[in-house]
């Protein structure tokens, strides 16, 4: 039954090729945009997850602001988005007090100073100048490729350790170690170069160390006239198997320095993952919701054209009924036609989104990831759309009185 209807539907649609194509176009655009957005979100999530995992499981992150309601766990629905935009509540003092805790191995604050640095020859504006402590070398998985890290003994020296990407862009073939660069008018001596970070580039300050310049906390504070902008503090626990105890220690120590006000968040890695994933999911959902409107419009387009088609083919319906087609068979006939339009549109849309991904990967650093479930969902959605929006025209066709239909046209 379906087979026969399918053939008939395809042949009758191919008679009005352009009309069918433009009807499909609505669905094609809708499916393409939804699939693209969802896959971009998926890609983003995978990148973030990759980078967070990159730090290692025994790293505890303290973030400014109370991001989640700890009492009810780290469920995304309790996410406090405002906390992302407030001024940092973390200070260098916090970092110092944390490093004296017995269960803590290393503490590295991430003080985001500025985004530009220059040498005599070149200037870069897209990097992260981060004030931190020498402990960072223990927290980060990246190793120093050339030279040395600034060490514990010289916390206030104008030393810098630069990321691999920065080294290439600022100094090119030259060995950067021993060269100097200028940040906000202050000159820094390059002590070392980090090995190339294996995780891919996503412009999230704390994780992309290829385009980072690490400087000691003291000069960093001085650069921003005594202020700090510590986005987060990375803590490496002494005992990786007893993270919860460390988290508790950190939490109570910070509560003390913050006079009992909990305007910070202590997160284990997987909690961080949850939050990052949640934010991206919400964002993706929101944008794909907007994109889904175009799907709706596409569906209405199908309904329109199907209605036109039904009234154009009144006589054909009459003939079919005269020779014994039941209402149900006429209904199926038009349902399948609507389905061919929408599923065809959906399939073309998926293919088109693959093309869009190619373009995105070539021309931007976004890395959309298409998964089988997303593709299946896209096709499923177009099936549902097809059924929903062809039901009305198909019913209209099926309920035509045979004799009126035969006289029609």
């Amino acid at each position: 039954m379906l087979n026969g209807n399918l053939k008939a539907a395809i042949s009758s649609l191919s008679r009005t090729k352009w009309r069918s194509f433009f009807t499909m176009l609505g669905i094609i655009i809708g499916i393409t945009s939804v699939v693209t957005v969802v896959s971009l979100g998926e890609g983003l999530k995978q990148q973030v997850v990759g980078q967070i995992n990159h730090l290692g499981r025994d790293v505890i992150t303290v973030r400014s602001g109370k991001l989640v309601n700890q009492a009810s766990g780290t469920s995304v629905s309790n996410l406090n988005l405002l906390a992302f935009f407030s001024a940092s509540t973390l200070t260098g003092h916090d970092a110092a007090s944390l490093s004296s805790l017995p269960s803590v191995k290393a503490v590295a604050p991430m003080d985001f100073v500025t985004s530009s640095a220059k040498t005599n020859a070149k200037e870069l504006d897209n990097l992260f100048v981060i004030g931190t402590t020498p402990d960072v070398s223990q927290v980060l998985p990246e190793t120093v490729e050339y030279g040395d890290f600034f060490d514990q003994g010289a916390p206030d020296q104008n030393y810098a350790v630069i990321g691999n990407g920065v080294a290439q862009q600022l100094f090119g073939e030259l060995n950067p170690v021993g060269q100097s660069l200028t940040i906000s008018g202050r000159s820094f001596l390059v002590r070392g170069v980090l090995a190339k970070s294996s995780t891919s580039l996503l412009s999230v300050a704390e994780t992309d160390f290829n385009s980072a310049i690490l400087i000691p906390l003291k000069p960093a504070e001085e650069l921003s006239s005594g202020q700090t902008n510590i986005l987060q503090i990375l803590i490496k626990a002494k005992d990786a198997n007893n993270l919860d105890a460390t988290v508790n220690d950190v939490h109570s120590a910070l509560l003390k320095t913050h006079q009992g006000q909990e305007n910070f968040t202590v997160l284990k890695q997987y909690e961080l993952l949850n939050i990052a994933g949640g934010v991206i999911n919400q964002l993706t959902g929101f944008i794909s919701g907007i994109a889904a409107i175009s799907l709706l419009v596409g569906g209405i387009g199908i309904m329109d054209i199907m209605l036109v088609s039904v009234s154009e083919r009144t006589r054909e319906i009459g003939i079919r009924k005269a020779i014994g087609a039941t209402n149900r068979q006429i209904l199926n006939h038009f349902l399948v036609e609507g389905l061919v339009l929408s599923v065809g549109g959906g399939l073309i849309g998926v293919v088109a989104s693959l093309f869009v991904f190619g373009m995105l990967r070539i021309y931007t650093n976004l890395q959309p990831v298409i998964t089988l479930p997303v593709m299946a969902l896209a096709v499923g959605v177009s099936v549902v759309l097809g059924i929903i929006f062809s039901v009305v025209p198909a019913l209209k066709a099926a309920r035509k009185n045979p004799i009126d239909a035969l006289r029609g046209e």
Binding site: R15, R320, A322, G324, N327, R328, I403, L406
Partner: protein, 292 residues
């Protein structure tokens, strides 16, 4: 038991002041194997009657028993099934689907029966062979002549082996040669035991029928049984009558022409008697029998 039995069947169109009575309490019984010709002027309700018998339409009042079963009030899907299995339609304008080829057109009723494509194509092909259209299987309807198209339509009507063939002016669009072919085909089908209902304006075609009914204004005004091969009397009268247009006719307009249909409303006038005698002379001359 009669194959078709209509009792007090009426059909109304429109409502309020615009109501038209297309069929006025028509009673008709058709036995199995009859070749029934239906004549009458345009608007007399012939086609409406055929549509009711063919279950394309529903009567406003009355009962319609097909093989003893009342089918007038069946649900649409059941009616469709009866249509599919028991009734074949041949239309004046062929009504083949224009965009599929002859073979697919003929096979279509089988598809609605749920037969597999291979089997239905085989059957359709055989049926086309029977109407002499085998070599035109893959033509589109528009590539055929009128007669060929009508033969394909007859093949389609026959494909489900219906017991009733309803032919609504099947030769209305054909020249005399094609008409003859189509009528011989119908006659052939009739000889094989099918019941045929033929609507026609052409008195010549009543030769194929063994019963002729005349309709006017939604009423069956005359019902004539006759041997096959002979033209019906009533039809003959219509055929050979040469009317002069009188002043009264001009006042009456088109409806004056309806006087030519036999029935109770035709009154005998001296003028009419004279005309009849003259016509009878012509009939005798042609070898026919006189009309009383």
């Amino acid at each position: 038991m009669a194959l078709i039995e209509l009792q007090e069947v009426s059909k109304l169109y429109g409502f309020g002041d615009a109501t038209t009575l297309a069929l006025d309490e028509v009673a008709l019984t058709v036995e199995k194997g009859e070749f029934l010709a239906i004549m009458g002027p345009s608007g007399s309700g012939k086609t409406t009657l055929m549509n009711l018998i063919g279950l394309l339409d529903r009567p406003t009042h009355g009962t319609y028993a097909l093989d003893g079963r009342n089918v007038a009030r069946l649900r649409p899907n059941r009616q469709a099934r009866v249509r599919r299995d028991r009734i074949g339609f041949v239309f004046q304008f062929y009504n083949l689907l224009p965009r599929i080829n002859v073979l697919e057109n003929v096979a279509l009723p089988l598809a609605y029966r749920g037969m597999t494509p291979v089997r239905r194509q085989k059957q359709a092909s055989d049926m086309l062979e029977r109407v002499g259209m085998r070599d035109r299987e893959y033509f589109l309807p528009r590539q055929l002549s009128g007669g060929q198209t009508q033969r394909a339509a007859i093949a389609r009507a026959l494909i489900n082996k219906p017991n009733i063939i309803i032919a609504d002016e099947p030769t209305g669009n054909l020249d005399s040669t094609d008409s003859k072919v189509v009528m011989e085909l119908l006659s052939d089908i009739h000889r094989q035991g099918n019941t045929i209902l033929l609507v026609t304006h052409n008195p010549e075609l009543t030769r194929y029928a063994n019963r002729v009914i005349y309709m006017r204004d939604g009423i069956i005004v005359a019902d004539e049984k006759k041997p096959i091969g002979r033209m019906a009397k009533g039809a003959r009268r219509t055929y050979f009558r040469k009317r002069k247009t009188t002043d009264r006719d001009i006042v009456a307009g088109v409806s004056a022409l309806m006087h030519d249909v036999p029935g109770k409303e035709v009154t005998e006038t001296p003028k009419r008697r004279k005309l009849r005698h003259r016509n009878n002379k012509i009939f005798k001359h042609l070898g026919g029998r006189a009309i009383k």
